[in-house]
């Protein structure tokens, strides 16, 4: 009996130790994942209270449903930031927002629309939104609160979110693209004026055995999209906004010389084991949530990355603006296009034409809600009444001043905003295939062109 009792105690101790170890490891993993967020949510802030008051004013006199369903592409820390804003709507208007974030949003929304059960609101790409607008499935927001939209957003951005003269979508977080670097480890040109300076620097560092780029591509079903955005930046800065838009609208074929050249320039820089941290395979395998941490790691495993304004948020607390992370605008190949910038955002569209959906979208477009979102330090916002000083982060303040307040910046649209779901998917998969096998470029471009209908 004593032996059995001792044996049982040892077994219990072993199990307890295993459980503790598992809990510790889980905690570490959660910590690592949580480091992607720098949001500073506070329901006590004045911005939150103003957003609640705005929601109350919008809901006043309207009979709204107790809840609405929303699907977006942001999950994790980014999804939480958006839900913090939606809390203000819930508190002010009494409508619970059932938000689901998934990287697989295109397929999820498509399957629900096909099943006749679309979500009330979906945060989707402009190209996909246009597709639904052509099918007559989206709510006309101009009719609902058109004058507010005109007050709060620039005409060109409203035009990009419109179909047949009607605004169909509302912008939330807005992202631009820039070249991020760590001032402590960066050896490249500061504020270069030509893309060739970046290429020369990359080659010089590679000759010394130092890969300088972080270029993680693994994003689950949407793997390859960071590379796609890299290629679009190269294209815009070389060929300008007119050809860029034509490319996005399908008028410029994917098999054209210009598109092929953009792919090849991306390939020369990134599809090269000597230039990218971890090699090309490492870049393909690295998840985007952690694959850029090398920029601010100690020691840093890369010196630069060309990607969106969300990079510091993904890296987490080790990305200290001005100290371990800073940016400059992507230099142009053709100086004519140095002020042309592409941007990345999604549009929140309404599928169900009712008072609740319209009230929610009106709230999202309102200055109060956009100020609160800006104060949460995740993304810049496009609302013209949101001053740069509102952002807690100096990086976001700088981004807002550079890309929004600065009159010289021209925001352009191309495939990342205009292409439909099939072309975007083919583009992302094409980038992965190209990175795996650069000699397959022609075949890759043909397969993307085949997806363009």
């Amino acid at each position: 009996m004593a032996v059995t009792t001792r044996h049982r105690r040892r077994w219990i101790a072993a199990v307890a130790a295993s459980v503790s170890m598992a809990a510790l490891l889980t905690g570490c993993a959660t910590q690592q994942q949580a480091e992607g967020g720098t949001s500073t949510s506070s329901t006590n802030s004045n911005y939150y209270k103003a957003a609640v008051a705005e929601a109350k004013a919008i809901a006043n006199g309207k009979k709204l449903n107790p809840s609405l369903s929303m699907i977006g592409s942001n999950s994790g820390a980014e999804g939480q930031t958006l839900q913090d804003v939606y809390k203000a709507f819930t508190e002010g208007a009494g409508v619970k927002v059932n938000y689901t974030g998934s990287q697989d949003i295109t397929a999820i929304v498509q399957s629900r629309v096909q099943a006749g059960d679309p979500p009330d609101v979906a945060d989707i790409s402009a190209g996909t939104a246009l597709q639904y607008a052509k099918e007559g499935k989206l709510v006309d927001l101009s009719a609902a609160f058109g004058s507010e939209l005109k007050d709060n957003f620039s005409p060109s951005l409203l035009a990009d979110a419109s179909y047949d003269g009607k605004v169909i979508g509302v912008y939330q977080g807005f992202s631009n693209f820039m070249l991020w670097y760590n001032p402590k480890s960066y050896t490249g040109p500061k504020n270069p004026t030509a893309w060739s300076q970046i290429v020369d620097w990359t080659n010089a560092q590679a000759a010394k055995g130092t890969p300088v780029w972080c270029a993680a591509q693994n994003a689950g079903p949407e793997s390859g999209f960071p590379g796609a955005q890299f290629i679009e930046n190269i294209f815009l800065k070389q060929y300008g906004p007119t050809l860029y838009r034509q490319w996005g609208e399908g008028q410029l074929p994917w098999t054209s010389t210009q598109v092929k050249t953009a792919f090849q320039e991306f390939g020369d820089l990134i599809v090269n084991n000597k230039n990218v941290s971890g090699g090309v395979t490492g870049a393909l395998a690295a998840p985007i949530a952690t694959g850029y941490n090398g920029l601010t790691a100690s020691p840093a495993t890369c010196q630069a990355t060309l990607w969106g304004s969300w990079v510091p948020g993904l890296i987490g607390s080790s990305a200290v603006p001005g100290t371990t992370i800073d940016f400059y605008r992507v230099p142009a190949t053709d100086p004519k296009y140095e002020n042309d910038e592409l941007f990345q955002t999604t549009e929140s569209v309404g599928f169900t034409d009712n008072a609740t959906t319209k009230a929610f979208l009106q709230f999202m477009a309102s200055t109060a809600a956009q100020k609160y979102l800006a104060s949460l330090n995740r993304w810049p916002v496009a609302n013209v009444h949101v001053p740069a000083s509102i952002y807690p982060s100096s990086a976001l303040q700088e981004i807002a001043k550079t890309y929004f307040a600065g009159s010289s910046t021209q925001l352009d649209v191309g495939p990342n905003m205009l292409a439909n779901a099939a072309v975007q998917t083919a583009f992302f998969k094409g980038v992965v295939s190209y990175m795996q096998n650069p000699s397959s470029l022609d075949q890759v471009l043909q397969s993307i062109q085949a997806a363009q209908k």
């Binding site: 399957s111 793997s223 971890g278 992965v432 209908k453």
Partner: protein, 326 residues
């Protein structure tokens, strides 16, 4: 209506209690009415009264979608115009050939891998005292959905470049061996397909072991004893007595896994979405249906999968009938 859908307790009451009560009432009332008819007539009508509901359900859930899918497979993307066999021709050319090639690899490696491991587990576990604990360990992954299993193994296979800290369990373990470099399991051609197949084996092994274990326990001990008395070793006993005796169960396992290999989707979609030459036909069907929005091609793939699975279904039915007769 939306408040009804959001009310989970109400939905549970309707689904778990309301629907069974409704079915019971309908069947009871129908049976009463049939009972009121003249005797010979009521005896003939009564079975059809009971069968009516299930037949309607099968017609709605199976027959109608089947017919609709076959018709749509001969139509264009919007299912507005006929295109003949164009969709089927598309399904057997170009990049689809690589996709079909991957499915053929799944059709070979997945059933064979599962069968071999299940046979080993079923035969050996039968001989040890800790059979229950061993069986529990093998069966546990069966409780995990394919999607959840894929998420787990995505982390297990995670790759960091050589010299970096490996956060994937497998690479963390193998790099403990001096001189061994981490392996990009999901990015290396052919290896990645085997890595995905292994996950399916891990998830499906439990059910296969259960089936084969029950069959092994059903072998007459006298047969085995007789073979041993004749001087047969363990391998000869397995080959000549055990395996032939459990052949029907082996056939069930193989045919089940072949059908699973034909329709594998979750693992590929979650882990690679068909990238790195891992695409399979079911993933391609999902892509055509929900991304490209081509109903014709998606339906053609569904019909091809059905036709490919039919021989397996017939083999199973034939086997069940043969067992019933014997």
């Amino acid at each position: 209506m939306s408040s009804l859908i959001d009310n989970v307790p109400l939905l549970i009451i309707v689904g778990a209690i309301g629907i069974p009560i409704l079915v019971y009432l309908i069947l009871g009332a129908s049976d009463r009415i049939a009972g009121m008819l003249p005797r010979p007539f009521s005896r003939r009508v009564r079975p059809w009264v009971w069968l009516f509901g299930p037949v309607v359900l099968i017609a709605l859930v199976l027959l109608y979608p089947f017919v609709s899918t076959v018709i749509t497979s001969f139509m264009n993307a919007n299912a507005t115009q006929g295109v003949g066999f164009a969709n089927f021709v598309w399904a057997f050319q170009g990049t689809m050939l690589d996709v079909i090639g991957n499915n053929i690899l799944w059709l070979i490696a997945f059933p064979i891998g599962t069968l071999i491991l299940a046979l080993i587990a079923a035969v050996l576990f039968d001989k040890v005292k800790y059979e229950r604990a061993a069986m529990t360990l093998v069966i546990m992954p069966t409780a995990i959905s394919f999607t959840a299993g894929s998420v787990i193994w995505t982390q297990m296979y995670s790759y960091q470049p050589p010299g970096s800290t490996q956060i994937g369990t497998i690479n963390a373990l193998i790099t403990l061996i001096p001189g061994v470099q981490p392996v990009p399991w999901l990015q290396t051609p052919f290896v990645n397909n085997l890595a995905l197949i292994f996950i399916a084996v891990w998830l499906g092994l439990g059910v296969a072991v259960l089936i084969l274990s029950a069959a092994v326990k059903g072998i007459s001990p006298e047969l085995v004893e007789a073979a041993r008395l004749d001087g047969a070793g363990e391998w000869r006993v397995f080959r000549s007595v055990t395996f032939p005796s459990i052949a029907p169960a082996v056939l069930v396992v193989v045919t089940t896994e072949v059908i699973a290999a034909l329709k594998v989707f979750d693992i590929v979609y979650v882990m690679t979405n068909g990238n790195y030459n891992t695409d399979v036909i079911a993933n391609q069907m999902y892509n055509e249906l929900f991304t490209v929005n081509d109903l014709g091609k998606a339906s053609a793939i569904a019909v091809i999968l059905l036709v490919a699975a039919l021989p397996i279904v017939f083999i199973n039915i034939h086997q069940f009938r043969a067992e019933t007769k014997s």
